[in-house]
Amino acid sequence: MTTAVRKKDKPKRIREAKSARINRSIGGTVVIFLFLALASIFMLLPIVYTVVTSLKPMNEIFLYPPRFWVQNPTLSNFSTMAELAGEMWVPFERYLFNSVIVAVLGTIIYIFIASMAAYPLAKRHTKGMSIYYSFVIIAIMFRPEVTQIPLYIIMAKLGLINSYAALICPVLAGTLGVFLMRQFMETVPDEIIESARIDGAGEFRIFFRMIMPMVKPAWLTLVIFTFQSLWSTVDTTYIYNESMKTLTTVLQQISSAGIARAGAGAAVALVLMIPPVVVFIISQSSVMETMAHSGMKG
């Protein structure tokens, strides 16, 4: 009993000493707090203002000089948005379904493709890999817009116009994810992989059972980025069929119809923010879990 209590006691004391040293002085802590508070005000203000604007009635939106807070909050902007969405030819759920399918499927496929490509790049399976890596580096610099016209021709030839694939495929060619994953996989010690090889583990086993769990924070981060970018894609190039359009495309059309839609635009922005925020919260908490876990073990 007593030994157990002592064992518990000891790390606690160490932790106390450690935290005391981290927060050297009250002054330092106050400075950290003030800086973070100030910076987070700058970070949050645009979002808060969007929320506030979405609750403003029309006469308050055009008030001069403008007021930050809403005087008579109303949900009329949301009902306007819902009405406008209801006037579309296709049911609202269909747009939502399209968006979710594209974002979820695209994210999963891209995480797999990018991580798998990053593994041999990071661990140099052959000398030829450096050529692919230079392709990755060069390709990061290009935005899809540059290749839009030739890309359209290729899509048309492959018969991908008006399909989910037309929205997902361009993302799959993205190299930023490959670059990020490679950067993190490079820090996985070679010795661990080597010892797994000696123990007879195949490359796929090493990849899925060892590498991927070890770089979990990296690919969860990539999940956030990829989902966010797929979700917010506004596509008017590859999709003509109304029933294949995504929610984001349709809502963007609603909000861009002039100054009278100012409130509805803020409402749209708010609604479109929700799914990425949810994905972010889910993956972020497990990112922290992973970190806490590995921290305890280390």
Partner: protein
């Protein structure tokens, strides 16, 4: 010649299997279209019926944009100046925030969430919508909003206080950009933070036992250890700055100009492609400079 072992060959084959899916996507949806667009820069592209007709014009497109066009060189200059400012401010700010967020204090989780939120809206339609709500942009919102989030009020106060014009310009310039700059640093904060969290705690403990001050530990242990992440972040910021759809208030308007030239009213596909290609050569030059200055140092520390 050294004969490769069975083991090595097997390993190489596995490597190619791993990279194959991405290579296929890359070739089909990136490299081939890219080469095509490069070909367009030497041609005049005209829409005809259901396709394009190409007429070879050599370097005419390049000559026109660089020497005859009034706007293009100016756009390039703005983009470069903007990039330098962004790299400096964003790298410093995100490193500072990441180091602070990596400390232990109450409310850390809340602050982390706050700083990552902008990632969710840094690109795409949500960002555009929020920006236009903020700035009273063209699509939604009204001009009065700009009064609140820009330095118009500040400028008046400073003018009344007899502050020299030069200082007013610099201060208002930074203030006008501050929302854009800070909301652009979410990814960098995230990268720094995940880099910092991977640093071995045991090394820090050893330093503390040896009596090193926090200041020394930061400069002599933390900075060298995360230098690959610093480099990664600088590269990311350069690319992000160059390829973002900026507004006239903050950022460069090059991407918008390229898009307009190709898909707007003018519909000049060959000029659009050429504008993009010149722009990317500029980006490559700057990345080359960054790599030349920082990349070697990083590999030296690592090696």
């Amino acid at each position: 010649m050294k004969r490769r072992s069975h083991f090595e060959r097997k390993r190489a084959r596995a490597g190619y299997v791993f990279i194959l899916p991405w290579v296929i996507g890359f070739l089909l949806f990136f490299l081939i279209p890219l080469v095509n667009s490069f070909y367009y820069t030497f041609n005049t592209v005209r829409l005809s019926g259901n396709g394009f007709t190409l007429t070879w014009v050599g370097f005419d497109n390049y000559a026109h944009l660089l020497f005859a066009d009034a706007e293009y060189p100016q756009l390039l200059g703005t983009a470069v100046g903007n990039m330098l400012l962004e790299v400096a401010i964003i790298t410093l700010f995100s490193l500072l925030v990441a180091v602070l967020l990596n400390q232990k204090f109450h409310g850390r989780t809340f602050y982390r969430a706050v700083f990552f939120l902008p990632i969710i809206m840094t690109s795409g339609v949500v960002y555009t919508l929020v920006q236009s709500v903020m700035n009273g942009g063209t699509s939604i919102g009204n001009d009065q909003n700009a009064f609140m989030f820009q330095s118009t009020g500040l400028k008046e106060i400073m003018l009344q206080g007899n502050v020299p014009q030069d200082i007013i310009d610099i201060v208002t310039g930074v203030v006008d950009k501050i929302f854009a700059l800070l909301s652009k640093s979410g990814v960098q904060i995230l990268l720094f933070l995940s880099g910092l969290q991977k640093l071995p705690a045991s090394g820090y403990e050893a330093c503390k036992i040896e009596g090193a001050s926090s200041w020394d530990i930061f400069w002599k242990i933390t900075i060298p250890l995360i230098s690959p992440i610093i480099f990664l972040n600088i590269v990311y910021t350069i690319i992000d700055s160059f390829t973002a759809y900026g507004t006239t208030e903050a950022g460069n308007t090059m991407m918008g100009a390229i898009q307009n030239m190709g898909f707007g009213k003018v519909m000049n596909l060959s000029y659009s492609a050429t504008m993009a290609w010149i722009y990317f050569v500029v980006i490559i030059i700057f990345l080359g400079i960054a790599y030349g200055i920082l990349g070697r140092r990083v590999s030296k520390i690592q090696g």
